[in-house]
């Protein structure tokens, strides 16, 4: 307190002090401005390119555009699968703040059940981000109008015009065409493995069955894209450039829709399968499995009620033409006869006595003929015409299973026919190895006997039977069955499936003739099993009936259809071709649990052939006839 400050202020000293401080302050400011500027220089000049890119990434979005799926036509140009415009209510989940609440309020405008809402919420967990998802497909006009008025209340929801697959012939073609339906997570993973995922960025549906699945890569096409400028809410401001998608190929089938409809009508409500093949090239003219179902149900997501209805004991989901395993029964007798002739077990002229049953020497068991009193003296022709069982029991017994199995494999039994749909089974061509593998049991001599008449362990699909017959009537030439003949892209036409498989070659080519003549007699002769059905035909048909046991009949019992439950009655089988001297078509028919091939199978074949030859001229027998 001794040193008191002077009471008089030194104004000039204070002014100097202030000026110095102000100057220091200004220098300090300049330094800070320099720091700001150098940082801005780094951002705006050094890192300009990087930020320019990121700025463009913000505003430019590439929106994929789904290609139009290829159309499917029958052989005469009738449209079988088309794309129809529909209005869908779609949602981009990422653009909705509270999805559950929005679904609830949108369901007050458009009827969406709680189950559908829950399913939708579950579905979107498995999909790509920022891809719009169908909430409700095929809105009606009223729903479109109701939503459009309220659209502003539902950001992220929109009505989109889409092309949806439509099958105008409904259940007539389901097992051949298959259908498309919503792409699922599993399929997406598969596409990713195949490096195809980008091509499906905008695609909602994928082929699930039949031709739609098998030819998915051709039908789908190539995704296109559109570069657009968007704002921060993803709303499109303008289009910058466009790379149009390439539509998928159109397919032309070998199927004839008219014949297919005849096939459907002829089966009425009977369970069964019909395959009609072009004998010249293996093209499938009709492929029908009954009962069928409407594929359009699946396109927009089938309801669980509708789906449950399809899980009935008649099993409409099964494609009986390629997945139905039936004993081929007597339809393979011509093949068996050829083998017996090749092996010199029988000759064209030799006969045997049929007492109505066959016995292995020193064994009690009797393998009965379908005609209890037998066929008397039987040669190879009569054996086929009258479908004598005893003749083939004996032949089979003498040839042994290995020869039979090896020979029948050459006609495609026990193998996939290679038809261009994935739904196919090999069925069973029995052999010693097969039995040991399957039952851990060795092959009994007795097992061979019923194989001789296409029964026992032997099963085949209707397409296999058609294919085996096609090889036979073409004397070994092997045109495998197929449904698609041509893929069309604009003006470019690609032939598909015109390859041949290696032919079946016999030691004695004349043996073909014997089998074919015998099948001709089956229809031509009054004693033939298919004679009645083809009376008065304008063409010259040939064929073979079959009646396949579904349950084995105990020794000493008679088959009595009335006493058996419906599902245990015999299957009617028929395989036929026409004209006999220059085959144009092959027909293979199985009708479940309806009894005889001659009474049920042959008349259906007659209807199909009548239709075919009404529309197609009978070709003159060229060099084919010997």
């Amino acid at each position: 307190m001794l040193k008191r400050r002077p009471t008089i202020r030194d104004h000039s000293a204070e002014a100097n002090l202030f000026a110095r401080r102000a100057f220091v302050g200004f220098i300090f400011i300049l330094a800070l401005v320099a720091i700001l500027l150098s940082n801005l220089y780094t951002i705006q000049v050094d890192d300009h390119q990087d930020y320019q890119t990121r700025s463009n990434d913000n505003r430019i979005k590439v929106i994929p555009i789904a290609p139009n799926r290829g159309l499917i036509y029958d052989r005469n140009g009738v449209l079988l699968a088309e794309n129809k415009p529909v209005y869908n209510l779609e949602v981009i989940p990422e653009e909705v703040d509270d999805l559950t609440a929005s679904l609830k309020s949108v369901s007050k405008i458009i009827d969406i059940t709680e189950q559908q809402q829950a399913d939708f919420l579950d579905d979107i967990k498995h999909t790509r981000r920022f891809k719009s998802q169908v909430l409700k497909a095929r809105l009606n006009e009223n729903e479109v109008a109701m939503f459009s008025v309220n659209q502003h209340k539902f950001p992220g929801f929109s009505i989109e015009a889409r092309l949806a697959r439509y099958y105008p012939f409904g259940d007539t073609l389901t097992h051949a065409l298959g259908y498309v339906a919503k792409l699922n997570k599993k399929e997406l993973n598969k596409l990713e493995q195949q490096d195809e995922a980008t091509n499906y960025r905008a695609t909602h549906d994928i082929g699930k069955l039949g031709i739609e699945k098998y030819y998915e890569p051709l039908l789908h096409g190539q995704v296109g894209s559109q570069r657009v400028e968007v704002n921060n809410r993803g709303r499109i401001i303008r289009t910058l450039s466009m790379d149009p998608p390439q539509p998928g190929d159109d397919l032309v089938l070998t199927l004839d829709i008219g014949l297919q409809q005849i096939a459907q009508h002829s089966l009425k409500d009977m369970r069964g399968a019909i395959v009609v093949m072009d004998a010249k090239d293996g093209g499938v003219l009709a492929l029908y499995s009954n009962p069928s179902y409407d594929p359009n149900l699946f396109v927009h997501g089938i309801s669980s009620k509708d789906y449950k209805a399809l899980l009935n004991p008649d099993r409409p989901l099964i494609n009986r033409t390629t997945q139905g395993r039936y004993a081929p029964a007597s339809t393979i007798k011509p093949h068996m006869a050829i083998l017996a002739l090749e092996e010199n077990i029988v000759q064209e002229t030799t006969t045997m006595w049929d007492p109505g049953f066959f016995q292995i020497p020193n064994v009690e068991h009797r393998w009965r003929d379908w005609r209890r009193w037998g066929h008397g003296h039987v040669d190879v022709y009569k054996a086929i015409e009258e479908s004598c069982d005893t003749y083939f029991y004996d032949a089979a017994y003498r040839m042994g299973i290995t020869k039979i199995s090896n020979f029948m494999a050459r006609f495609g039994f026990g193998e996939l026919s290679g038809i261009d749909i994935h739904e196919e089974t090999t069925a069973i061509l029995p052999s010693k190895e097969w039995k040991e593998d399957r039952f851990k049991e060795s092959w009994w001599r007795g097992d061979t006997i019923s194989v001789g008449i296409g029964q026992g362990y032997w099963t085949a699909t209707p397409i296999q039977i058609a294919n085996a017959t096609n090889i036979l009537v073409n004397r070994g030439i092997n045109h495998p069955p197929h449904l698609v003949q041509v893929a069309k892209k604009e003006d470019q036409i690609t032939q598909l499936n015109n390859e041949e498989k290696p032919p079946v070659v016999l030691n004695n080519e004349d043996n073909w003739r014997i089998a074919i003549d015998a099948m001709h007699n089956t229809v031509k002769k009054t004693t033939g099993t298919a004679h009645r059905a083809f009376k008065g035909a304008t063409y010259d048909p040939a064929g073979k009936t079959g009646t396949a046991q579904v349950v084995s009949i105990a020794q000493g019992e008679r088959y009595d259809a009335d006493a058996l439950k419906e599902r245990q009655r015999d299957n009617a089988i028929y395989v036929g071709f026409a004209p006999y001297n220059n085959p144009q078509i092959i027909v293979s028919i199985v009708v479940e649990n309806t009894g005889g091939g001659s009474s049920v199978g042959a008349p259906i074949a007659r209807q199909l052939m009548d239709y075919y030859f009404a529309a197609n001229p009978i070709q003159s027998s060229g060099s084919k006839v010997p």
């Binding site: 400050r5 202020r9 030194d10 204070e14 002014a15 002090l17 202030f18 000026a19 401080r21 102000a22 302050g25 200004f26 400011i29 300049l30 800070l32 401005v33 720091i35 700001l36 500027l37 940082n39 801005l40 220089y41 951002i43 705006q44 000049v45 890192d47 300009h48 990087d50 930020y51 320019q52 990121r54 700025s55 463009n56 913000n58 505003r59 400028e229 968007v230 704002n231 921060n232 809410r233 401001i237």
Partner: protein
């Protein structure tokens, strides 16, 4: 008397510093241009913006007419009223966006912290200016108390940006008054040491989040890092020449948040590039230089300290805002002075320039 002198004396009589006025009007013209772009050519917004500017210019003009001697008399009532209102805000203020900053006066809402932006430097300048410069320790301590009391009250609202601005305006007075460098060094180390407890006990979670985001904005690109990332993209993509007026995709397509307020500098950088940035900074430096020139030439300690402090605080606005949008500083809600859309800050700033003009012209009146 020459004609030139005559002309000068007209502005002098109107209490207007012409170079400063021209610079301010240029800034406002720039503001109209950029806000027009940033608002998406919203004419209703433009009308509000220009109306506020006109109001702010009138406010500046009115304040310029009040001589420093009258201001000195108003200092204590203003400061006390401000403090009372700050306490009022904490007790019965109106909340908006998680902060309680507003006082509802029935007809209008008022933000007392804006009053304090002027009252605090005035109070400190008055208190320190009463005595000899450099100030004695006791005066320094009281001066600090005058600064810290409202600063802490505002930080409680919470409004970190404004409390930083007010604290710096007070501290600048002390600095300009000749606070010894040794003391400055000592206090700086205290502040540095205090940062740690401040981080743990003094900051709100959202403020901490801002700091963390600032240190690594890419860690949360869609959350709190979004602002700063989009801002840097806007600035960086502008390059040297910019994308052109109304052509900034970051701003026009609304990727940049808070485009017309806190992040308006990013809009300017995107559309006018580094070139535009340099013009803006030059104009700012001119205004600061002019403000300091006025301060140095002021007649009295009060005027010098006040004009100097207001000018330096003006720079704090600039530095914090540009530093924030370009990623040098954490995101603190400070507008870009004289450019950002928003009435309160514009009015307060122009009021401060009114005071500076009053100080500038007061001296010349005395010289006559």
């Amino acid at each position: 008397m020459t004609a030139l002198h005559n002309k000068r004396s007209i502005w002098l009589r109107l209490h207007i510093d012409l170079p400063l006025l021209i610079a301010l009007l240029l800034m406002m013209a720039g503001s109209i241009t950029i806000v027009y772009s940033a608002s998406g050519q919203d004419s209703a917004m433009m009308i509000r913006h220009i109306t506020r500017m006109a109001g702010a210019i009138i406010g500046m003009f009115v304040l310029a007419q009040i001589p420093p001697t009258t201001l000195k008399r108003l200092v204590i009532p203003m400061y006390c009223l401000g403090l009372l209102m700050l306490v009022g805000v904490l007790l019965f203020g109106v909340s908006s966006k998680g902060a309680q900053r507003w006082l509802d006066l029935g007809i209008t809402r008022f933000q007392p912290s804006e009053l304090m932006k002027l009252a605090v430097p005035m109070m400190v300048a008055w208190y320190i200016g009463r005595n000899h410069l450099p100030p004695r320790p006791l005066h320094l301590i009281i001066g600090f108390a005058i600064v810290m009391l409202p600063t802490l009250l505002i930080k409680e609202q919470p409004d970190l940006g404004t409390s930083i601005l007010i604290a710096s305006s007070g501290v600048f007075v002390l600095f300009l008054s000749g606070l010894s460098w040794r003391l400055i060094g000592f206090l700086s180390s205290i502040v540095a040491l205090a940062a740690w407890p401040f981080w743990h006990y003094g900051m709100h979670d959202y403020q901490k989040q801002r700091v963390l985001t600032f240190l690594d904005p890419e860690s949360d690109p869609l959350g709190s890092g979004y602002h700063i990332i989009q801002s840097k993209i806007a600035i960086g993509s502008g390059g040297i020449e910019g994308k052109g007026w109304l052509q900034g995709t970051q701003s026009q397509l609304e990727f940049l948040p808070e485009r017309h307020t806190d992040f308006i500098f990013s809009v300017l950088s995107e559309e006018f590039g580094l070139f535009g940035v340099c013009i803006l900074l030059s104009l700012y430096l001119f205004i600061i230089g002019r403000g300091l020139f006025i301060a140095v030439n002021a007649q009295e300690a009060f005027g010098k300290l006040l004009a100097g402090s207001l000018t330096l605080t003006f720079f704090v606005y600039i530095f914090v805002n540009i530093g924030m949008v370009s990623g040098l500083l954490p995101v603190v809600g400070v507008p870009l002075p004289l450019i950002s859309y928003g009435g309160t800050s514009m009015v307060t700033l122009m009021a401060a320039f009114g005071i500076i003009m009053s100080i500038a012209t007061d001296k010349r009146m005395l010289l006559k």
